[in-house]
């Protein structure tokens, strides 16, 4: 709620926050100063067993003749837990410790005003991380390194990692006018990705960066190194990295544990990749396309129209559709249900392709427009394409939750761009039993939509729930999952006290029958390979709590307190906690406990061990598989002729028939000649 009010009150927000930009440095426009120059920008990504570690190193140069406070904004990566920040200011090195937000800010301001080296890393709701460093000396340089972790789920056999740089486009104009920004890198931009998958990888892609990237496959099938480098440039384009697992991998259960000692609580990441025989749905269905044409979508409208056009073109004649657009209010672009005949689809595509972005955003009105005139006899899905920034009409997430609960439809959301309001989209989709997917402008838009379409047009598991027996697991993600779609990977985090044998059960209903998929495995008493899991678990808890708060199921003040505790205990930057960066002496002087320093030391030690070893396979149902079928990837192998080869065959057939007649005539002559010779 607070977030929404901030969006509405643009001028106030401009002064209070670093504003909504893509990656770049900022300086107040009225100050008459030049923004910090970005000398180099280097990114290192290690994707290892379902989660990614991203290390960003950036050098700033102060071109002004006076000391300056460096301000840097960076789009918030989805489920990214900012865990480590180190900065070098002149000869001083400062490191970060997470404190409650207000306290961290007060400490930073005191140190900055005293002329000491200090920094602050904070989170601005779902939009961005913001960094402040002081002082960057006149004509001097500063170097900042920050690290964040995020879980990566595989969808239909395809993994996707996004390094967000692109401007979200969700800014309010007043805020934008307050700052002068610089997103140009004078020196070199490099991105190094190391992919270590326990499962064989058949393909990796960096859409839009093919010419700049070198891809190297190492000895193991799942081990790749990708290097992208360019001299100079603008930090305005997301780096999207895809990797495709081998086809026909088994449906599986993987458990990655971390337990520092037998008497300390353990943490686990449970990844379920269902191998289910989900049949295609042949019945016709109704689809309502709900398209955001508000001003904030201006930079994304092309991607929207491209994606929607392709989806419309792939609908089946037995399907029906309507199209609703919305900005300050909803409009019926295609008001009544239309059968997806070629003619109707072409007419609709023509209307979609001339859409223009303008005005404010009334998402609630758009959804209400979509929910009118439903046909109770047919399954209805809503395809919602938006950046989720709603600022007119009803904006409270709980109102969206209530609206969706009142109707039997599923919402499939496509969230365009960085800084988009994914918490709101999550509330809407969760309430309806649908799902959402983020889409970058640099994404394989059609591929993302087709992935989703593959889910919508197959059977799915209903009323799915996950339960762990034998070992007391707690602090887990909500055990009730609801629907499980084709290709969907389920990622859970949880904690446990004592190791031992446990049984994990996924219960669900499929076409009216009860299904139970289970396997037995052992939680280790001690396992120190993956200490980062504690931070990932904490962030997962934070997101779960915030979802319940947004849906009106938890008291806001209690959630804030819980988030604050989690942030401080597990040293992650959240909406309630920030990371203050000081020298070691300053921390000692202020009596601030170095929790993050200890945690980072453990993580670095484990990472050094992991990097020297082959990737570990954490599958726990190898001997007794929980699933009978392969995990749906792109599918199974098959000899497919397809239309091209099929038509070539037809041509060959025609050539055979025509030639046969001609040859027959000629050979009659030949036979006659043969007879005469005889």
């Amino acid at each position: 709620m607070k977030i929404m009010i901030h969006v509405c009150l643009g001028v106030a927000a401009a002064v209070m926050s670093l504003s909504a930009f893509g990656a770049g440095t900022l300086v107040p426009a009225q100050s008459g100063l030049q923004p910090m120059q970005i000398t180099d920008h280097a990114v290192e990504v290690v994707i290892n067993n379902g989660f990614a570690k991203t290390t960003v190193t950036q050098t700033f140069h102060n071109p002004n003749g006076q000391d300056l406070e460096a301000l840097y904004a960076f789009p918030l990566p989805k489920s990214g837990s900012l865990s480590e920040v180190t900065a070098t200011l002149g000869e001083k090195v400062i490191n970060g410790e997470v404190l409650p937000k207000d306290k961290a800010k007060a400490v930073y301001e005191e140190e900055r005003d005293s002329g000491n080296e200090a920094g602050l890393a904070s989170q601005d709701s779902y939009k961005r991380f913001e960094f402040a460093l002081s002082p960057v000396r006149a004509h001097g340089t500063a170097l900042i390194t920050f690290v964040y972790y995020q879980p990566l789920a595989i969808d239909t056999g395809v993994g996707r990692y996004v390094y967000p740089l692109e401007e979200g486009g969700t800014d309010d104009p007043a805020a934008m006018s307050f700052w002068t920004r610089n997103e140009t890198v004078a020196g070199r931009i490099t991105v190094d990705v190391e992919l270590k998958s326990a499962w064989p990888v058949t393909d990796v892609r960096t859409p839009g960066f093919e010419g700049l990237s070198t891809i190297k496959q190492l000895e193991h099938d799942g081990h790749y190194q990708i290097h992208m480098e360019r001299d100079g440039g603008v930090l305005n384009k997301d780096f999207v990295f895809y990797y495709r697992l081998a086809d026909n991998l088994p449906g599986r259960v993987e458990v990655i544990p971390y337990k520092p000692a037998s008497d300390k609580p353990g943490t686990f990441m449970l990844v379920v990749t269902p191998g289910l025989d989900l049949k295609p749905l042949d019945n016709g269905a109704d689809y309502v396309f709900v398209l955001d044409t508000s001003g904030s979508m201006a930079g994304k409208l092309h991607a929207l129209t491209e994606g929607v056009t392709k989806v419309l073109g792939k609908m089946r004649p037995q399907d029906r559709f309507r199209i609703v657009t919305f900005e300050s209010r909803a409009h019926l672009l295609v008001g009544s249900w239309q059968a997806a005949t070629a003619e109707n689809v072409q007419r609709a595509i023509g209307k979609v392709q001339v859409l223009q972005a303008s005005g404010s955003t009334n998402l609630h009105d758009g959804l209400r427009g979509a929910l009118s005139n439903l046909d109770g006899d047919r399954a209805t899905s809503i395809i919602l394409v938006t950046d989720g920034v709603t600022n007119t009409g009803v904006i409270a997430p709980r109102a969206f939750h209530k609206l969706m609960k009142e109707h039997d439809v599923r919402v499939f959301g496509f969230l365009m761009g960085n800084s988009s309001n994914w918490p709101l989209m999550r509330v809407i989709c969760d309430a309806s039993g649908g799902f959402y997917a983020s889409v970058s402008n640099n994404d394989d838009i059609l591929g993302r939509i087709l992935q989703a379409k593959g889910k919508v047009l197959h059977e799915c598991l209903h009323d799915a729930s996950l339960r762990i027996r034998g070992v007391k697991a707690y602090g887990t993600t909500d055990g009730y999952i609801g629907k499980v779609y084709r290709g969907q990977q389920l990622v859970f985090f949880g904690r446990y006290d004592k190791g031992g044998d446990a049984t994990v059960e996924l219960k669900a209903r499929l076409t009216g029958d009860d299904k139970v998929y289970s396997t037995t495995f052992t939680f280790p008493t001690v396992d120190t390979d993956n200490p980062e899991l504690e931070r990932l678990w904490a962030l997962h808890r934070v997101e779960a709590l915030e979802l319940r708060r947004d849906a009106g199921l938890e008291d806001a003040s209690e959630v804030e307190a819980a988030v604050r505790d989690l942030g401080v205990n597990y040293q992650i930057v959240t909406n309630e906690t920030s990371m203050v960066m000081l020298t070691g002496d300053a921390f000692a002087r202020r009596g601030i406990q170095r929790r993050n320093q200890e945690r980072i030391a453990r993580e670095h030690k484990a990472q050094a061990v992991r990097s020297s070893q082959p990737v570990k396979n954490y599958r726990v149902d190898k001997t007794k598989s929980a699933f009978r079928h392969s995990a749906p990837s792109i599918g199974n192998g098959g000899g497919a002729f397809g239309p091209v080869s099929g038509l070539i065959s037809v041509c060959l057939g025609l050539a055979g028939i025509m030639g046969g007649h001609r040859a027959g005539r000629r050979s009659q002559h030949g036979r006659a000649a043969f007879s005469r010779r005889s």
Binding site: D203, G454, N636, G653
Partner: protein, 235 residues
Amino acid sequence: MKITRKSSDQVKRSLPRLNKRHAPGHHREEARRFPVVSLVLGLAVLAIWLFPAASAVLELDRQALTGGQLWRVMTCHFTHWSADHLAWDLTAFVILGALCEVRDRRGMLGVLLVSAVMISLGTWVFLPHLNAYRGLSGLDSALFGLAAVFLVHERLHVRDFRGLVLLALVLGAFAAKVAYEIGYGGTVFVDSTEATMVPVPLAHVVGCAVGCMAALWRIHWRSRRVSFMRERKNN
């Protein structure tokens, strides 16, 4: 070196039974033959598709094969993942099958048998991550190879160079398609609703190679028979 000459009876015994089809110009008579095998097999493929449970026990499943269900080596080619997958595979099979069958039924059956085994073995050995395989296209490719070589031979025999150019275009297109599949088969995304499997270019390469080799062998075998017939007639 002493060259021993076989008597005509000895030669006759060493070769399969001969009939008028083996004389030049036999296509007129053969073209009237009804392609019953192609149609029956095509109907069987359709029937299997209509009973999804049958596909499950007939597909090439790596685990089931290790468990001793060896029939899957042969039957997997007659199963399909989706209606789209089936449509072109079956169309091509009936056309190419008929084309081959009217010319050489035995040759066609032999090619189907050998290529079915070779394709399954190929996927087993060279595609260890492929747990399941379905589809007629490997056999289609084998029939394509068989038909193409037969047709080229016929055009050469009657010196029909325009026909040869047309055939060269068709063959070039097919080769380009297979090369494209090999080069770009690994797309990140495939429309999973319309193609629920990845194409296996290896099956096409193996099938086509088997078909071409079989056709060359059959032509060689026939030319020997024709020579023998002429020699006997002249004597």
